[in-house]
């Protein structure tokens, strides 16, 4: 089935399908209730030697009826504290820390609906075509039963007002009120820094989702 190297013979993407109610089996089997792999991917991703401010991100993911979902897979992707992604396409000058992949995976809790990620706060990342730096942010991707194709959004940090005001992505969102759906307030609890990032799949406070 060789195709010639000319013309517009692109291959169409494989269609998405819902991750279903049992996504945990494949991706977070411990949450499904069993232990199978020696090495598990998880939501606590910054080892003790990784530079940066330790933070906890937590929140709930609400459906259009205001119900906190209890079966959603949450993945995040972020730069390190120097604003550099652990990926060959990132040739920014910031320091690369190979021990920090920058990717987390967890699920909303079956009982409480809360998801929790423990990581470090990323630095700002240089923006598209060097025009403006992007404020520190974490890329989110959600998949679950009832979500036909993964939903992409970003979390920004509530204590970065000045950087957020200049952020080239937040600023393309026409309705300034909707930008707030991407900004997580910062608080302190038991000596830990906590950012609360609730996501609304639908409804009055629907979160901004991106088609990138």
């Amino acid at each position: 089935m060789q195709r010639p190297p000319f013309g517009l013979a692109y291959l169409p993407e494989t269609p998405s399908q819902t991750a279903g109610p049992y996504v945990h089996i494949g991706l977070i089997p411990k949450q499904a209730g069993f232990d199978i792999f020696e090495n598990n991917f998880g939501g606590d991703i910054a080892g003790p030697d990784v530079p940066g401010e330790r933070i906890t991100i937590e929140g709930r993911i609400f459906d259009g009826a205001g119900h906190a979902t209890r079966d959603v897979l949450v993945e995040t992707w972020q730069a390190n504290a120097a604003g550099r992604y652990n990926h060959p396409a990132d040739s920014q000058r910031g320091t690369l820390d190979k021990s920090f992949r920058g990717w987390a995976r967890t699920g909303t809790d079956f009982a409480t609906g809360v998801y929790t990620i423990r990581t470090i706060k990323p630095g700002s990342v240089v923006g598209r075509k060097n025009r403006r730096r992007m404020a520190p942010h974490i890329n989110f991707w959600l998949a679950s039963r009832g979500i036909n194709i993964g939903l992409a959004t970003r979390m920004y940090f509530g204590d970065e007002e000045a950087a957020n005001a200049e952020d080239p992505v937040l600023n393309i969102i026409e309705q300034a009120e909707r930008r707030k759906t991407l900004v997580a307030p910062r608080s302190e609890r038991g000596g830990n820094i906590v950012y609360t990032f609730d996501i609304h799949l639908q409804g009055e406070r629907e979160t901004v989702f991106f088609d990138a």
């Binding site: 010639p4 993407e13 494989t14 399908q17 996504v23």
Partner: protein
């Protein structure tokens, strides 16, 4: 993988696909042997004949991408001042017409979980064109052998099959070293999951999940039992056709994809509400794995072929150097 002591029999080597039964008399492999077996299992299974993957470079991939006003030179100089920041590769716009929309009343759960405001279109920055990478060292040697990775005192019940294929991007370029994760119900249609209460029994020797990293040709394969169909709460009498869930990464977070693979000839496919969410019939057909008799092992097991295509990208040219190629 499960602790080695819990797995009877030798570890899954490609050359042993279906060629011997799991037997308690076989020695537990040493760590070194398991590591070797893992390496072997990450390459093509000998005896599994496969067609060559697409190997052409996509149209446009070798052309310099100019800035909107054609100012490549100025951009390059400017980027030299702060470190290059323009992505090496920008991804082709996702063709939403081949994917299910968020809101599909035929699949009732989607109704309250679908955003109603249009997605904001976002041109690629580094945050989009980068994504997590994984190393084969992170996986166990049995992670791609669902017949053995949860076996306690025997083999899982059911028809043993091989599932294999290539992961490619829209340019036909093989995606090497990408993580593929799979999960499924057992042969009776029951998931090993605390929320699954279907009447079919749990299989004590079947976990129902596996994972692998594609080789340099983008090839993956795993061994499992064919999953059973099962009912679910959508309409009064809704059944899912037999299917295997796939999660794939690619090289960038915008390529992230979760999908489901179905089996050629399954009579439930035309009745399924989940496949029906895909608006394009020819796109939906690409989710159906084909029976691949050439890859079937005589007197052992059948094989199914399922190729996965993630979004393609175009390369950018900077300072007379083609990046990312």
């Amino acid at each position: 993988m499960r602790k080695a002591s819990a797995v009877k029999g030798s570890s899954f080597k490609g050359s042993q696909i279906g060629s011997s039964k799991v037997g308690p008399s076989k020695p537990v492999p040493s760590k070194a042997r398991r590591a070797k077996a893992n390496k072997a299992s990450l390459s093509e299974a000998p005896g599994v004949k496969v067609a060559a993957p697409f190997s052409f470079r996509g149209a446009g991939s070798e052309w310099p991408q100019l800035d909107r006003d054609g100012q490549k030179g100025r951009m390059a100089r400017r980027s030299g001042e702060t470190g290059r920041s323009m992505p090496d590769a920008e991804f082709h716009q996702r063709d939403r017409g081949i994917h299910p929309p968020a809101h599909t009343p035929v699949y009732k759960t989607s109704v309250l979980r679908s955003p109603r405001i249009p997605l904001w279109s976002l041109q690629n920055s580094l945050s989009e064109v980068t994504g997590p990478t994984f190393s084969p060292d992170e996986l166990g040697p049995l992670d791609n052998d669902l017949l053995r990775n949860y076996a306690h005192d025997g083999e899982p019940i059911g028809e043993q099959i091989i599932v294999h294929g290539y992961v490619l991007d829209g340019n036909g370029t093989p995606l090497a070293g990408t993580l593929v994760e799979v999960w499924q119900a057992n042969a009776g249609g029951r998931y090993r999951h605390r929320n699954d209460t279907y009447i079919a029994p749990i299989d004590p020797n079947f976990g129902g999940c596996g994972r692998m990293i594609t080789d340099e040709r983008g090839y993956y394969f795993f061994r499992t039992v064919k999953p059973g169909a099962y009912p679910f709460r959508n309409y009064v009498n809704s059944w899912r056709p037999a299917h295997i869930h796939f999660s794939v990464f690619g090289t960038a977070f915008v390529q992230r994809l979760i999908t489901q693979m179905y089996f050629e000839g399954d009579p439930l496919i035309p009745h399924d509400s989940i496949i029906a969410t895909v608006p394009d019939k020819t796109a939906a057909e690409r989710l159906i794995a084909r029976l691949d008799l050439n890859a079937a092992l005589p007197l052992e097991c059948l094989a199914y072929r399922f190729d996965i295509v993630l979004r393609g990208s175009r390369q950018t040219l900077f300072e007379n150097k083609l990046q990312g190629s």
